[in-house]
Amino acid sequence: MPVQAAAALDAATLDHVSRGEPAWLVALRADWWRRVEANPWPTPAQEEWKRTSLDDLPRDGGLLLDPPMATYDLDPALAARGVIFSDLATAVREHGELVRAHLGRNDTIAAQMPFWGRSLAGWTGGSFLYVPAGVAVDGPLVARTSLPAGAYTYLPHSLVVLEQDASATLLEEISSPDGHAVWFGGTADVQVGYGARLRYANLQRLGDGVWRIGAQRVEVGQDANVTTLNAEIGSGISKVGMDLRMTGKGGTSRLLGLLAAGNAQRIDFNSCQDLLGSHTTSDLLYLSALYDASHASFYGVTRVRPEAKQTSSYQECRNLLLSPKAGAEPIPVLEIETNDILRCGHGATAGHIDPIQRFYAQSRGLSAEAAERMIVRGFFERVVAQIDSEPIKARILDALAPRIGQTDEMAA
């Protein structure tokens, strides 16, 4: 199927996109587009945009109008209990009022607003997950999207809402063929209610011509527990911002990242762990394995607000440099505005494989390549071990296999 794309991202295109949509959504898109036009394009003067230049962002490809192939499998028994899992456009048609209550209601941090706004104005795809109060979804829900070939702009928006005491595990996987200049501006708005529990994994396997400029916003309610995982494997340039808001008292979050990059890939991640509620816990662990001339940047802020007492937070970013041309810029920032903290700190490292580890592995008969794969696998294990859904773990290990080999390599 040929890609149907509009000329450019502008008001006329948005009129076209919103044709046939309910009036509230037409107004919502128009409202976000006005904000996009009022908001300046990012500049290197913003700390989050110092390390990725948008000068070469492929802006000429038109907006992808038809949503690409996506699969959403949901057990009918869960659907009967009120769980909704579909693409966002279908959800608007079938559950309009529910989507309306949650879509486009939130701002995000200033550095991400230009892309957050574009996505909320111009989305033509994205997932919608709604879990009603008290409903537990056992197995993982998987949303798998394959983007078509061609040069275009695609700005999907995913909306995840867990009501009080709900629980769910979600994997969003996105892939596309190599060799096409695509601007992929996907965003996600994750709202986790009182006492709810969410495991949310993103597996990114985009083609090497893709610019992935993403934004995620996660709000953790009182006593809620959230783990997010960003596994960044593909794309040419990847810039993802995470806006985590620990608003509810006693909430817990873990932000995990696995980055495996090669060739001339650039991966730039910025996070803001905003601890607003007292007795909240937020830990971040990002691990990068960098091959060839790839480069990873990390700029993460932990902010503890004056009223957020008795919080506990840690931020850790480790980079394994596997080639003389690989580079890393890990920058973990703390802004602590109260002394009533239980624990607060950060750690960042960049370095090569310990030659003693390499020597040991080789002295046991492994080839240099196998030794490296095994050591990188061990390096990733701290995150992999925290993925508590076996199907998701298997999926992510499979995606990493070209770098770290199959897990049964040692047995073979």
Binding site: L290, P306, N319, L321, L322, S323, P324, K325, A326, G327, A328, E329, P330, I331, P332, V333, L334, E335, I336, E337, T338, N339, D340, I341, C344, G345, H346, G347, A348, T349, A350, G351, H352
Partner: protein, 470 residues
């Protein structure tokens, strides 16, 4: 226009270093403000060679052209036209203690300089206002060929060495404040240690700001030739005045092959001073450069001693303590640039914020491609003593080489209630107990200070803690 200074109202009346000698007469006092004419006049009064006049004017143009930095602390209250750029207390430097005028000696007596000299000093270069008024260098150092002079005197007596190195580490256009210093610099120390000479005792100098609204723009240049070593110590206390004062120094250090330099600073500026300092060293093959930097006092300090490791196996260390009380912001840290293979560095930062004070660690580790075998560790610990205090950590790292080991770690904590309870159950009051815990926290750095500074540091922490608790 005189600026209101909210900090001044909070300075206790008994502030020990907040005196002002009424007999003091400044001999050269220019009118306030900065212009091309003021820069030319400073150079003319000093009788400088033309190249220095030209450099000052070039730097002045840079200063004019560059915007104020927008990061770091709040500098919006600085009015560059409300500052004296050149003041001297006496006409010329004198070489013996007996020749120092009485009123200046009284000031120094209160700082304890003569006693300190008896014990430890190898030479004293005390800066009273902008000019060096007292210089005493021990005869044996002179015999070894060590030059230890005021910077103005250094320019007059050793123009060749001076011209070869001045402005090479921190060029006139480096940043706005360094450009200002280059345009109006006055005083500071000039040190040259010849090849293979080890200066066993620390060289010391005291700086003070003693004229209301007078900016102090001292310029220090230290050259340690191959295989030599020297430890330079600088300590500051400033009188408490009621309008904002600016201290903007530049320190340049060249550590040649196999040489070793340690530069220790303890600063206790009064709470209305803006302390905006550029300090940078270059270290060549097998050289060692160490900055020991203690920042107390001031309204705002922005200071990031940096080291460029330019030769193989060079080593750099920055040890930094910052203490911010109410209405104070200490934005300090360190930078190390690894520009040669097998270079190593260590940055240790300890910061304490109290009342409404704010401490920020801001640092950079950069490793250029090809600098294999480089290792760096950055360790930042912050102690927050009050509910309204704030602590930030901004550690920048840019690593463009794989064969390296780079690590950064930071923690933020408060004084544990169990620790306080234990000490108070042993009969201490809360202030004493807190001071003891804080002293323990900064101990790894204090133990690196010369003995009298370590004593002073602990005493200053104690003074800060009194009235802070309870």
């Amino acid at each position: 226009m005189a600026l209101p200074n909210p900090a001044a109202a909070k300075v206790p009346t008994g502030y020990k270093y907040g005196w002002h000698d009424p007999e003091m007469k400044s001999l050269h006092v220019m009118k306030k403000g900065l212009s091309r004419e003021v820069v030319e006049e400073i150079s003319r009064i000093k009788g400088e060679p033309q190249w220095m006049t030209d450099l000052r004017l070039k730097a002045y143009r840079h200063f004019e052209a560059r915007p104020m930095p927008t990061w770091g602390g709040d500098m919006s209250q600085i009015d560059f036209q409300d500052i004296f750029y050149y003041v001297t207390a006496t006409d010329k430097a004198v070489s013996s203690w007996d020749d120092v005028p009485d009123y200046i000696r009284r000031t120094y007596d209160r700082l304890g300089i003569p006693e300190a000299e008896k014990k430890y000093l190898a030479g004293v270069g005390g800066q009273y206002d902008s000019e060096v008024v007292y210089h005493n260098i021990r005869a044996d150092l002179e015999k070894l060929g060590v030059i230890f002079l005021g910077t103005d005197e250094g320019l007059a007596k050793y123009p060749e060495i001076f011209k070869e190195y001045f402005g090479t580490v921190i060029p006139a256009n480096d940043n706005k404040l360094a450009a200002l210093n280059t345009a109006v610099w006055s005083g500071g120390s000039f040190i040259y240690v010849p090849k293979g000479v080890h200066v066993e005792l620390p060289l010391q100098a005291y700086f003070r700001i003693n004229t209301e609204n007078m900016g102090q723009f001292e310029r220090t240049l230290i050259i340690a030739d191959e295989g030599s070593s020297v430890h330079y110590v600088e300590g500051c206390t400033a009188p408490a005045y009621t309008t904002a004062s600016l201290h903007s120094a530049v320190v340049e250090i060249i550590v040649k092959k196999g040489a070793r330099v340690r530069y220790t600073t303890i600063q206790n500026w009064s709470h209305n001073v803006y302390n905006l300092v550029t300090k940078r060293a270059v270290a060549y093959e097998d050289a060692v450069m160490e900055w020991v930097d203690g920042n107390l006092g001031s309204r705002l300090t922005m200071k990031y001693p940096s080291i460029y490791l330019l030769g193989e196996r060079a080593h750099g260390e920055v040890l930094s303590i910052a203490f911010a009380g109410s209405d104070q912001h200490q934005d300090a840290g360190g930078k190390v640039i690894h520009a040669a293979p097998n270079t190593t560095s260590l940055i240790t930062s300890k910061s304490i914020s109290q009342g409404t004070g704010r401490t920020s660690y801001r640092g950079l580790i950069k490793v250029y491609p090809g600098c294999h075998g480089s290792k760096s560790t950055v360790r930042c610990d912050a102690l927050i003593l009050s509910d309204e205090a704030r602590s930030d950590t901004y550690p920048y790292m840019e690593i463009d080489e794989d064969d390296v080991t780079i690590g950064h770690e930071a923690t933020v904590s408060k004084v544990g209630s169990e620790q306080l309870f234990y000490l108070m159950s042993r009969g201490m009051n809360e202030a004493e107990a807190s001071a003891m815990i804080v002293n323990g926290f900064i101990e790894p750095i204090v133990k690196e200070l010369p003995m009298e500074y370590a004593v002073e540091m602990n005493r200053l922490i104690q003074l800060q803690m009194e009235g802070a608790v309870g």
